[in-house]
Symmetry: C3
């Protein structure tokens, strides 16, 4: 008797599955049930959510491709998120301990402000649907419903829901300001920085973003920037350059024509930062595939890793030859240079081109860092070289190494210069205006004492007494 | 002509699929094989595991939905795992360097003990299948086999294997004790803490858990707590309050009616902790969807992130206004407050409700921390405010902001108070009994010298000499 | 005409889905197709990439299983990557602050060199397709195309693209040298270490790897090592032993017949390291399933976690009993011991066997560490005990606990001893040759002053003055 009941319930369950799949072919439902009974040998299928089942019935395997792609982009968003911890630890590690609380505070502020303003304005400014002019206008994201949550939103090309699309891009947006944060560290007034960073992330970054990713004029021209060598890193690097020029160098850095190195206070923190950035870049580049396409995502992982490693090795050996010592911070910046360099073309160059792009980035970054110091542009963490200079290099490299004939060196040059120039000019104006009104730099005493005490009334390591000052 | 060829090749490809899928229907297999031969043009499909093929044949796309969902919950378990590192670094960063080894040891113990006792007792006590009464009884998890490892275990609602179900929940369980760990830090006897933490995680936490997630009386009443604002954070926060009341404040904290701040020894460690907790929360909330449902998981990612950022911003500005300084630890606790606040309703409120819930949590946590200090309840890391007070707020907020009419403010109030009261009372009794028998507090000398030397005979930073004491 | 073709092709696709679901009710397939046409009412499916669509049409659900599996292995590669940060922080935390830059530099070098040389030589040496003899020969990885990027590469058994296969294994490869790095820390010459590490990773590691995973003689014999208790950890541990024997102990460690402990400089760093290693191990073991098979991956997550926790608990209690103090570094090494122990059999033992294997590993590691100190083999981080000794234990444990009759204790013994002996002998020769030519050890003055100043001219914590020396 029990067996009969089991058989019956099993059949009903199977019927259920059939119901879903033959919903549009009602004639069959009955017959199917009748025939389904002997299928008992197979494990019983539990009930399926009706909505889910409907989607599956419509899209077949594509639905699952959508589900896994959507999941991947969410995980990638998490990986890009952790890059913000990477920046926070890298920047504080490469600065003095007396400015650590200040740097951490800025980074905590940036992620919170970045995600929030991107929801309020940036996302819809950057991805307007239709390109809305050179100066993009945005609006708050909606409370997505219906098709925004299904395969219909982006198909297999942008295989994610509207929410996923937003959160992935929101994690990117904050990066631009984070790059600036490191370059202007140890001397900028906190409140002034917070205002500038907000304006940059909320309004300036989405503009250049829309030029390419919002299907604007650079996109129409054939410009290619896969995950943002120019749109994210070039932008951040040249905004940083503007800030540093307006601010001037830290006190005591260039004294009597000589460069006096100001050492970072914790190399473990800096190293943690670079490893986290490397990890996060798998999401930054890998997620930019915008689906879980097996061939493409795996290619991107390999080109990204190979370029990073080649960059690290190149800068290790070059800096060793130049400075006569194996320098850890150069090694770290070499890895980052390789990562920035491959970002524009991670999906469209071969593994060995990626190695070359990365190695050249690792070489460039060493000379660039030394050169900026020579011309007394004081960038405590090397952000201008890593993100700005190597961002340009990476963008041009796609024009050189991509097998596609649609991508030309000239277009790449126009694109990267436009983006970097826009970032530089807007930032210069912003920094200049804030300097003229609110003031941009802490007092000489505060700079000497440290911004932690001056701005926050708090030390990063109070237990270690005054030994570290 | 071309079209005809395309059609032909398409049909042959389809035939190929049939070849795979009718392997178990021998009548067809032969015919299929006969027809499949010319399909050679298409890439050869490698053999598929027989078991896998059987599952796929039965469940179609649902099988892959199960596979990706199961994977997501495993990854989410990894993300919740890393929250334990977040707690370890946050707590040690916000305490003095002389107690660092002790805090780390406690956190290492908690994750090991938590997962292990949850396997031995907790999981089956909390998820009994059928609610087994107010005081849940458990038993060791089985060596799952057969249906426990397939779609049959949970279908599309609980789309994971029994092992996945266990490991995800095990990572949650240890959290309750970790929250307590921070609040009682710098003065509790190690062995006494270890005993209390074990009893809390193994026996007390699964009881309230079963009231809701084990389909108990709170569930029957319509109480809603998506990922545990009350069941995890409220529980931990009020267990912490009980511990702090029994223990009393740290020596030197409240002297002559004044609050003397005892500063954390490493703000980078504390910041690392909060970023890791933020990251882990994507798994904590996102995994609580219990499948990879694209719409729901992406909504949860966005509400979680927005609430965290709103919480951070709110507490930054409020504390700046109140204390007149931009305070990093308030900013960090604001992020956590937003996260705890959204946990109960991350899947059922809109993005802008999430922003409001988070912002209010960020506001509440500032006032709560200041208030607890005023009434001389000494919580070194703010755990009672972050997890206890904001846990209650988050649970009530679902009653306010959820569009569902099934969730009422009254039920939410009854639920959260029941859980927090149970946690408080049981913990108070436990702490009290241990105090009366084994003793709960280290000696005044040991507290002064630090628990690292006193309990472990070891310093956290021996190289830095005595400069940090 | 076009419409007719479209309808026809649409019907055939639907037929495909039906094929899956009606495999057991073949009678329906035809009728279903006929009726499917009016299904137009369902939400419109966006266009699918043609390539993607072709794949889906060919492989049906297996295609999505492939997509999700491929994604999982890429994420697992990311998790194994972060183990390198785990090693970097663990090793530097357990060593003195004056050698921190040196340790970090070595770890940064190893990951860059490891991935790069594995692409140039190692991968094709280790996975030759056909076993190419006891001394494997390699060549650069190709620029994979066509079938290498599809289901055809590995089917459901090795469900990933060729790029994914490479990057996952590349992250493994570098581990071998990282294990050595910790054991020889605080006294080895940087350039000599870099040469030896390169030779080990690029040439020696792939040889033993090919014996088993390249389908070589150990594989033919029935030897089982799921994720590398012997092939990775045993290899690294015994290479480390060779290095330590050639180098000798650190100055001041064994003075007048007594063991003078040289304390690690940062227990938070060490703890961060172990948590990251624990997290990464979910990818190390979980990814070694080589697909997203729900039952198997979830089993591996649970056995891995339970063994780690059992190892941690066992070593906490045993070391407490032996040393009379709760020792944090023993607890940390106990977790790692449990993880190394379960690595060989994570997919083939039950949960409770895993607990026993882990607990015994936690016990063994305590005695092993104490014993090596007794015989004056100076291993600053316990790498020989954790990876070498527990690697052997884990490999043997599969022979004891696996229910499979194909895996015998004898074969496991032969396998692990062969691998460890090969690693030891090759490394001994390498270290010896380098010692005889370039020199292997820094000068006594440099060792005393610290390698950071001596090798790098750089301190890890310059702000903290000389207080830490």
């Amino acid at each position: 008797m029990k067996n009969w009941l089991k058989l019956l319930s099993g059949s009903l369950k199977l019927l259920c599955v059939f119901g879903v799949l033959t919903a549009t072919v009602p004639v069959f439902a009955e017959e199917a049930a009748a025939e389904a009974a002997p299928a008992e040998a197979a494990p019983a299928a539990p009930e399926i959510d009706e909505d889910l089942a409907a989607l599956q019935a419509t899209h077949g395997p594509a639905f699952d491709f959508f589900t896994v792609s959507n999941l991947w982009i969410l995980i990638a968003a998490g990986l890009v998120f952790i890059m913000h911890l990477g920046f926070a630890t890298l920047e504080s590690g490469l600065c003095q301990s007396k400015n650590t609380v200040n740097i951490l505070y800025k980074n905590v502020f940036i992620i919170c402000m970045g995600v929030f303003t991107y929801a309020l304005w940036g996302f819809n400014a950057m991805y307007p649907g239709e390109f809305n002019g050179w100066l993009a206008a945005g609006s708050p994201i909606g409370t997505y419903e219906g098709d925004d949550l299904t395969f219909a939103y982006g198909g297999t090309g942008l295989a994610m829901t509207a929410f996923t699309d937003f959160i992935f891009q929101a994690m990117f947006a904050a990066t631009a300001a984070t790059i600036v944060s490191g370059a202007v560290a140890e001397r900028i007034k906190l409140s002034s920085f917070m205002i500038i960073a907000t304006l940059l992330v909320a309004f300036a970054y989405p503009i250049t973003g829309s030029w390419k990713w919002g299907e604007g004029w650079l996109d129409a021209m054939g410009f290619y920037d896969f995950a943002g060598s120019s749109l994210v890193h070039g932008f951040g690097g040249f905004a940083a350059l503007a800030g540093v020029l307006v601010l001037g160098p830290r006190a005591g850095k260039y004294v009597g024509g000589k460069v006096k190195p100001i050492l970072g206070h914790s190399m473990p923190l800096a190293t943690i930062g670079v490893f986290l950035l490397f990890l996060g870049w798998f999401g930054f580049n890998g997620g930019s595939v915008l689906s879980a396409d097996p061939g493409l995502v795996s290619l991107v992982f390999v080109t990204t890793a190979i370029a990073a490693c080649a960059g690290g090795l190149a800068s290790m050996f070059v800096s060793w030859a130049l400075i006569k010592k194996p320098d850890l911070s150069m090694a770290l910046n070499g890895i980052l240079a390789g990562l920035v360099g491959i970002t524009a073309g991670a999906d469209s160059v071969s593994v060995w081109s990626a190695a070359l792009i990365g190695a050249l980035a690792g070489l460039i970054v060493v000379f660039s860092i030394l050169w900026f110091d020579k011309v007394k542009i004081d960038d405590p963490v090397g952000a201008i070289s890593v993100h700005g200079v190597c961002g340009i290099w990476g963008t041009l490299a796609v024009g050189i190494f991509s097998p596609s004939e649609d991508i030309t060196f000239t277009t790449q040059l126009i694109g990267t210069l436009s983006i970097c120039a826009f970032a530089f000019i807007v930032s210069y104006v912003l920094f200049f205006l804030v300097k003229a009104t609110l003031g941009i730099r802490v007092s000489a005493e505060e700079e000497n004492e440290g911004l932690d005490i001056g701005e926050h009334g708090n030390e990063a390591y109070p237990d270690f007494g005054t030994a570290h000052k």
